[in-house]
């Protein structure tokens, strides 16, 4: 078995695993957990090896079926892509421990179906990090979206309606992206990203090119819930089953931000976006600032923990889009570092929310009273995640905000800097409110249970849900301390050239 195909096996393993889980899970339920964990563990280790190899050797390019590009589909792994691969595999593996436990309770008897879609989603995300072909990106984007629609619709109550709303909006976004790629194909005659970039170099500026760019950008913004196209996200992510939201919430929007970076720098060139259309650039940074402010304000009005976290996700997407469009190296570094940090922070907070929901059955603020006493480790990890969201050193969130603020100051975008500081303040208010309810109010014991188990004492979450939570919280601190080497060793290489 040659290791030159290793990056392919990272994609093929979840794909094969999904259908193996479906087949073998029908025979016996006990196959699901070891298969899923085995496949994801393999993917994580392989992603580490690929990252080491890319940092040592440079960009790897791999042609499927041995058809040379631009005729064949090409997989391109540069440092940014390898970083995303590792992030996706590691976050998915960590979240799976928690999913296995909560899905046993929420969807008894259907775990094999759930994990088939789960593994297909991870295969799609991995493919998105690898691909170097514009149409292949559309196909993989739709694979991830369709499995997400299915996973969200498996929840209770209003979840199918939220999923239908997401289907409509998500498909509009994907169709816009497809239209944009159609325009690019008309102009250049090629679908390979590097080839399109080469041909566009020699082309003159036309309205068709601007239309293609606009369609692709708007399509990706709908998919990543950039304000004001975000209305599907709060309902969809908060009503999904906890086993699904711990994996979808950290990954989907961040991978779409990564795709936006890919499109902006591997297909179009920085000169086209930033210099020729300078007005558009500062407009988008203003919209990003507006997104941060509005999403933070909306988060203040929520009474449910998971919904509040979903509005915070919308604000974080605003950080990243603004950081990318700041058009300087600090902003770009901050945005890429924030992709990594935000995935870990969201993972930590959603894992804590899943643990709380598993034990108390509800996530309204009233049922969080006195949780510090009864679930101390969960709330300690939640506190670390909260500090990271606020931006307290030495947790990871501080360093990415630092780079973004530096980039904003350097680009004279004072609105964006003000929005960042305002959002930190609002996050502080939000999270200290929760910490106050959980710590200082002693409230009724186990009030949140809605299954009639009134006499059950709320106790610490089970080990399978606690271990990934503690791991995520420790990772936040570790990435915070390791920000320096991370930035200089990996991210500086990942920042696209031209700055």
């Amino acid at each position: 078995m040659t290791t030159s195909n290793l990056h392919l096996y990272i994609l093929a393993a979840p794909l094969l695993g999904a259908f193996a889980v479906n087949l073998l899970g029908r025979l016996s339920r006990r196959w699901v957990a070891p298969l899923t964990l085995g496949v994801l563990g393999y993917a994580t280790i392989a992603a580490l090896v690929v990252l080491a190899r890319v940092l040592r050797d440079g960009t790897i390019s791999y042609t499927i079926g041995n058809w040379r590009p631009p005729f064949g589909i090409e997989l391109v792994i540069d440092p940014l892509g390898a970083l995303m691969l590792l992030l996706i595999s590691a976050v998915a593996l960590t979240a799976t421990f928690s999913s296995l436990t909560s899905i046993e309770r929420e969807l008894p008897g259907r775990e094999h179906l759930f994990f088939t879609m789960y593994l297909l989603l991870i295969a799609g995300l991995t493919g998105l990090a690898l691909t170097g072909d514009a149409f292949n990106l559309y196909v993989l984007l739709e694979i991830t979206s369709i499995t997400t629609y299915g996973l969200i619709a498996m929840g209770r109550g209003r979840a199918p309606l939220a999923s239908f709303n997401y289907i409509i909006m998500g498909s509009i976004g994907a169709c816009f992206y497809l239209l944009g790629v159609g325009y690019l194909y008309l102009l250049t005659g090629s679908l390979n990203m590097a080839d399109i970039a080469n041909i566009l170099h020699g082309l003159q500026e036309t309205a068709a090119l601007a239309t293609a760019f606009a369609f692709i950008m708007v399509g990706l913004w709908v998919k990543m819930a950039f304000f004001p196209l975000h209305s599907w996200l709060p309902n969809a992510y908060s009503l999904a089953p906890s086993g699904a939201s711990v994996m979808i919430a950290p990954l989907m929007t961040k991978v779409t931000v990564f795709l936006m970076i890919r499109v902006m720098f591997s297909i179009f060139s920085p000169e086209y976006e930033f210099i020729q259309h300078a007005g558009v650039q500062s407009l988008i940074v203003w919209v990003a600032a507006l997104a941060i402010v509005c999403a933070s304000a909306l988060a203040l009005a929520q009474r449910d923990l998971k919904r509040m976290l979903t509005y915070i996700i919308v604000a974080e997407v605003g950080y990243m889009v603004g950081g990318v469009w700041l058009a300087n190296s600090q902003g770009m570094t901050g945005a890429i570092l924030h992709i990594v940090n935000d995935a870990l922070m969201t993972l930590c907070l959603f894992l804590a929310a899943a643990a709380i929901a598993y034990r108390t059955g509800s996530l309204g603020f009233d049922s969080l009273q006195g949780l510090y006493r009864r679930m101390p480790i969960t709330m300690a990890a939640f506190t670390i995640g909260a500090f990271s969201m606020i931006g307290v050193p030495p947790t990871a969130g501080f360093f990415s905000k630092w780079y973004l603020i530096l980039g904003g100051i350097e680009a004279n975008q004072w609105g964006y800097v003000a929005a960042l500081l305002f959002s930190s303040l609002v996050n502080a208010v939000l999270f200290f409110r929760i910490i106050e309810i959980a710590y200082f109010r002693t409230g009724e014991v186990g009030h949140g249970h809605d299954h009639g188990h009134a006499a059950v004492r709320v106790e610490e979450a089970p080990l399978m849900m606690l271990a990934p939570l503690v791991l995520a919280a420790l990772a936040l601190i570790a990435v915070g301390f390791g920000s320096g080497p991370l930035v200089s060793g990996v991210i500086r290489l990942a920042v696209p050239g031209g700055f």
């Binding site: 149409f135 559309y138 196909v139 739709e142 369709i146 629609y149 299915g150 619709a153 109550g157 209003r158 199918p160 309606l161 999923s163 239908f164 289907i167 409509i168 498909s171 509009i172 994907a174 169709c175 497809l178 239209l179 159609g182 194909y185 008309l186 679908l191």
Partner: protein
């Protein structure tokens, strides 16, 4: 005025796709019934598929199915055959559309079982209560 009419007549196929797309878009946003929204989505996707396929058409071009031996001996003159690449890409897009429709219909079944109706305003009333 002459210029605008000449523009529209010369590129009438693109205007048809735009009209179809807007019909689909209006159905997705303006209609109250959930199934009609889904049909609007299908119309929107179909319009994009038509747009793509039309990009390969050439004046006087024939179907891109050629005899194997003729192709091996004489080669294929690209001006005589329609570009088959957009056709193949759109096969994939059709499959994606079918999958989304299938998932959406299954989700709508669950919505119907939960609320008893597929009209958006009635469902919002039931949730609001």
């Amino acid at each position: 005025m002459q210029g605008i009419i000449a523009e529209i007549v010369a590129k009438y196929n693109y205007w048809i796709y735009v009209v179809l797309m807007m019909i689909g878009f209006y159905a997705m946003i303006g209609k109250r019934n959930l199934v009609k929204k889904l049909i609007g989505l299908n119309i929107f996707q179909t319009a994009i598929i038509l747009f793509y396929v039309s990009t390969g058409v050439k004046r006087g071009g024939g179907i891109p199915i050629v005899d194997k031996h003729a192709a091996l001996t004489h080669g294929i003159d690209p001006a005589t055959v329609v570009n088959p690449l957009p056709h193949v890409l759109m096969l994939t897009a059709i499959v994606v559309g079918v999958s989304v429709t299938g998932v959406a219909l299954a989700v709508l079944l669950r919505v119907y079982r939960e609320y008893g109706t597929l009209e958006e305003d009635e469902i919002l009333e039931k949730i609001g209560k």
